[in-house]
Amino acid sequence: MQTLVLSNDKVANDIYCLKLQKPYGFDYKPGQFLMIKVNNLNEPLLRRPFSIAKAVSSIDIYYKIVGLGTKILSALKNGEYIDITGPFGNNFEIKYKRLALVGGGIGVAPLIGLKNFLDEQKIESECFFGFNTAKDCFVDFGSIATIDGSSGIKGTVIDMLAHLDNSYHVYACGPNAMLSALCKLADEKGFSVDVSLESNMACGFGVCLGCSVNTIKGYKQVCKDGPIFNYTEIIW
């Protein structure tokens, strides 16, 4: 669907916030994502998946420039149109435990919408976000850790989680190194973790079978069975 770009501003180092006009009847659950065709050409050919960070007055996407598609996206101006499909995927399930949101880098994006939703539902949650430096940080809430100490505590996001125990449930998204450190901690401390995974995608809704992840129940599709999985399911 052709969607109007309301704004597309740089919010941190290489990170942009794209706001799109919310189409009539658009509905989403935190954790879901859109597939965006970044231009009208055959290059890049495929749509790119992006988590919906928020969809209150507009659809908000936070994205990081990592390759051609995101580079092209960053040149979009307000007033232009862009083609989206979705929302796709499952969503963060709310657990009756103490909730912690743990994000690293651009992986913070899907957690913004979750936090928003929890606040609306008056469900308490703690937020822990890690970045390399203050310049990479694009959120204005939660506890922040940076590798160089330029904002919040000095260290990784994992360093802020010493208090988590088996009364906690964690929602996590971020680089693989962060996720595996987190899962190790979870094994030790007994808290549960749902992670939002990434994968190369072609279709975004379960037909191409291209986005498989290996789980204890065989291959599953990140786009349809995920992107959110309990970490114990995944064969890392």
Binding site: E43, L45, N200, C203, C208, G210, Y219
Partner: protein, 303 residues
């Protein structure tokens, strides 16, 4: 009014546009985007007797104007297909074509004979050309004699039209098509994907879990088109054109080259309703050219 319908034996396609195997799931998934009953036909994901889990990830990577896939024929298997999927087609007014795969001739034959019993199925497309499986697959597709035996055996157990889907990874695709024709195939589909690979210069390893993948998308359309053109001059049975079609113009090029029907593959991922736009574009083209029947386009580029 122009006539868009096409006949293949006794089968009538309401228009020449079908969706290609592996790129349109079981069709049902697309019902939320548009009425799939508007399509000429739907070719479902490659089916095998037993469920298959497919190849290790990563399974797809984009390339210039194309993509590689190494899905490896992951599918739910015959039993689940007939119990869960087929009934949903009772009221969908389009041709359901089942793309079948086996790791040996016997498996193809058993599957074809079983599928022969289901009235929801209009035809079978025999995939002898998937580059992503070790047994059968591309090996079958490259040897005219094996094709002949395979197709003859299937014809004995199945009354539905048999379409043979050919691999482009051969020296002479028309030769393979001739073998299919000799074995009384009702049509051939060409092309399946061209084998390719991408290497990750960070890890210095092949990017795909299965090393190699099949190249599809607009990048390959000139190759598919050439193969349809060449094959048209060598066989008499209908050709179904597939490979890189994502616009009415390319679809029409395939018809002019000699395809009676066409399939849309990778383009479905980009624009779920691209097939409707292509049907529409073909209709407009015929109107502008004052041609009253789409079949009159077929093979015109050879004149």
């Amino acid at each position: 009014m122009v006539n868009l319908s096409v006949k293949l034996n006794n089968l009538i396609f309401k228009n020449p546009v079908m969706t290609a195997s592996g790129t349109f799931g079981y069709g049902i998934e697309y019902n939320r985007f548009f009425d799939i009953g508007l399509l000429g036909g739907i070719i479902v994901k490659g089916l095998s007797l037993n469920p298959r889990q497919g190849n290790p990830p990563p399974r797809i990577i984009e390339t210039p104007c194309g993509m590689l896939n190494s899905i490896g024929l992951q599918n739910i298997g015959y039993n689940k297909f007939v119990s869960d999927i087929l009934p949903q087609f009772d009221n969908i007014d389009t041709n359901l074509i089942v793309n079948i795969y086996g790791s040996e001739i016997g498996e193809f034959v058993e599957l074809a004979s079983k599928l022969n019993n289901y009235k929801q199925i209009s035809a079978l497309e025999v995939n002898v050309s998937c580059p992503n499986v070790k047994a059968g697959g591309a090996t079958f597709g490259k040897d005219p004699e094996v094709i002949f035996v395979l197709v003859s055996s299937i014809k004995k157990v199945c009354e539905k039209p048999i379409i043979v889907k050919l691999t482009p990874n051969v020296t002479d695709i028309a030769l393979i098509a001739q073998a299919a024709q000799s074995a009384k195939a009702d049509a051939v589909s060409l092309i399946n994907t061209i084998t390719g690979m991408v290497i990750d210069t960070k890890t210095k390893k092949p990017f795909l879990g299965n090393k190699f993948g099949g190249l599809s998308g607009p990048a390959i359309y000139p190759v598919g088109l050439r193969m349809v053109y060449e094959t048209y001059e060598k066989i008499n049975i209908p050709i179904i054109g597939v490979g890189g079609i994502n616009s009415p113009d390319i679809a029409i090029q395939y018809l002019l080259a000699g395809a009676s029907l066409i399939q849309i593959g990778t383009a479905n991922f980009v624009e779920p309703d691209i097939s409707l736009k292509i049907i529409d574009g073909i209709m407009r083209y015929l109107e502008n050219e004052e041609i009253d029947d789409v079949s009159k386009l077929v093979g015109l580029a050879h004149n």
